[in-house]
Symmetry: C2
Subunit: 272 residues, 2 copies
């Protein structure tokens, strides 16, 4: 069975999309076509949206599922009149919250965000710059300013994770690639030793690592299954020996890896 | 008035946090302390969480607001018994959805995500690598593979935006810094010309640009308000003359900049 799902907002649509996607993944036997429509903020766009929803309903032979976080009442009323099955995210929860908090809501998406937007933007830029400057062991002098230092073998996912931590949470994340030589040494590298409490390890299934490395350097020793198997076994033993917490990234999403690192490392977000 | 808000999940907590934060920003006169607790997936952790919630209720003199997306029934029942004011995100919407879809939900957070996790992870890594390889005009040979090419003056936010587009949407985003020389030339640079339809501009308030540049190169001509004012005025005229769509990033969040670029550029996410 196929159904179309719409995530509609007069803002970015991220809240509607995040919630809607989480809910729809609970229905395994239905094939959803998911469409995000952000910035539906004029009567004209609302009318086009309604036409689109109604067309989906006809084509699918079942109501389209419509998640909305529209603030503007006129726009919301227009969308309400579509033939879709409507999940009005804000109204549903704001009324009970208003009672509990004994306070009227402004019903303005991201209003408080806007106030701190400049600070937030700069905090993000700073942490992204930190991640880029301290990527791949390129520079180690700023490690005292790092919130966390990810360690792992080449291509185990350190860079994307550092960038996600920076963008999503404003965390200053450095990363250092462990070479086979590093792991054969009797102790952890001097530069890391003094920041031992900030270290966190990433590991990955050897087969997946080989596939990822093959895209960069096809048919090399570096990307051979043998070498990847050797490195991943060695690095996991290394993490255990040196009591470095670590996570296997093979079947995890970047969201999951990052939130686990935050939780395990006792880190709190620098931006909200 | 102060209240504590908890975003609790046995997964990453991202859905609870995104929705909860959007709802709470509607209450401007209340000072919320927001606490995300991901991976509450054991009875022990649930009991600790309940103690923490109850302590907040006592200290605040008002119920803590608890948003949860807990799947495990035993854990959910434990959290329900706390003194917090509970917003059960999944239960609220899944029942009406089950009726409409005439289908039982698996009530398993991110289950369908897990299935595609490896592909999704690799798509993200590929697009992050693309953004890093094609950052700051470093390489231009891959522009034919780009989904979008961001242009703007130095430090107008191109790199973080490219990385966000890569991580969040799997979009291959390159960026090219426009120098004063580029903008004085009678036509746009040759390398960009053939990809004209992929260009998208970023601009920023001169005052903010000067502040950002000053952090990199304090008291330089590059970071002077005069120079920043000149460059931003020139670049905006340049965008208009060359009919390049653009966005002012000054008071926008990275989410907003990115979703606007997606919408204006007619791009669809490569990962869900």
């Amino acid at each position: 069975m196929k159904r179309t799902a719409y995530f509609i907002s007069d803002g970015t649509g991220i809240t509607a999309e995040t919630l809607g996607n989480s809910l729809l993944t609970q229905f395994e036997n239905i094939d959803f076509e998911e469409i995000t429509l952000p910035y539906v903020d004029t009567v004209e766009k609302a009318q086009q949206t309604v036409e689109r929803i109604n067309k989906s309903c006809e084509e699918d032979g079942g109501a389209a599922i419509v998640f909305d976080t529209i603030v503007n009442e006129e726009i919301r009323a227009l969308i309400s009149a579509s033939n879709g099955f409507k999940i009005d995210v804000f109204s549903t929860f704001l009324k009970p919250l208003e009672r509990e908090l004994n306070s009227k809501s402004t019903y303005t998406v991201g209003k408080s965000h806007a106030i701190n937007e400049v600070d937030r933007y700069r905090a993000r830029i700073e942490s992204v710059n930190f991640a880029l400057d301290n990527d791949d062991g390129a520079r180690t002098k700023q490690y005292q300013h790092a919130d966390i230092i990810l360690v792992g073998v080449s291509r185990s996912g350190k860079t994307p994770t550092c960038l996600y931590l920076a963008l999503q949470f404003g965390i200053r994340a450095a990363n250092y690639p462990l070479t086979p030589e590093d792991m054969e040494a009797p102790d952890i590298p001097e530069i890391l030793k003094q920041h031992r409490h900030k270290l966190y390890g990433l590991t990955i299934d050897a087969f997946h690592l080989a596939a990822i490395r093959n895209e960069r350097r096809p048919n090399s020793r570096y990307s051979s299954l043998d070498q990847c198997d050797f490195e991943t076994r060695t690095v996991e033993r290394y993490f255990k020996q040196n009591r470095i917490g670590f996570i296997d990234t093979t079947n995890a999403s970047i969201e999951e890896i990052s939130t686990r690192i935050m939780a395990d490392g006792g880190l709190t977000r620098r931006i909200v």
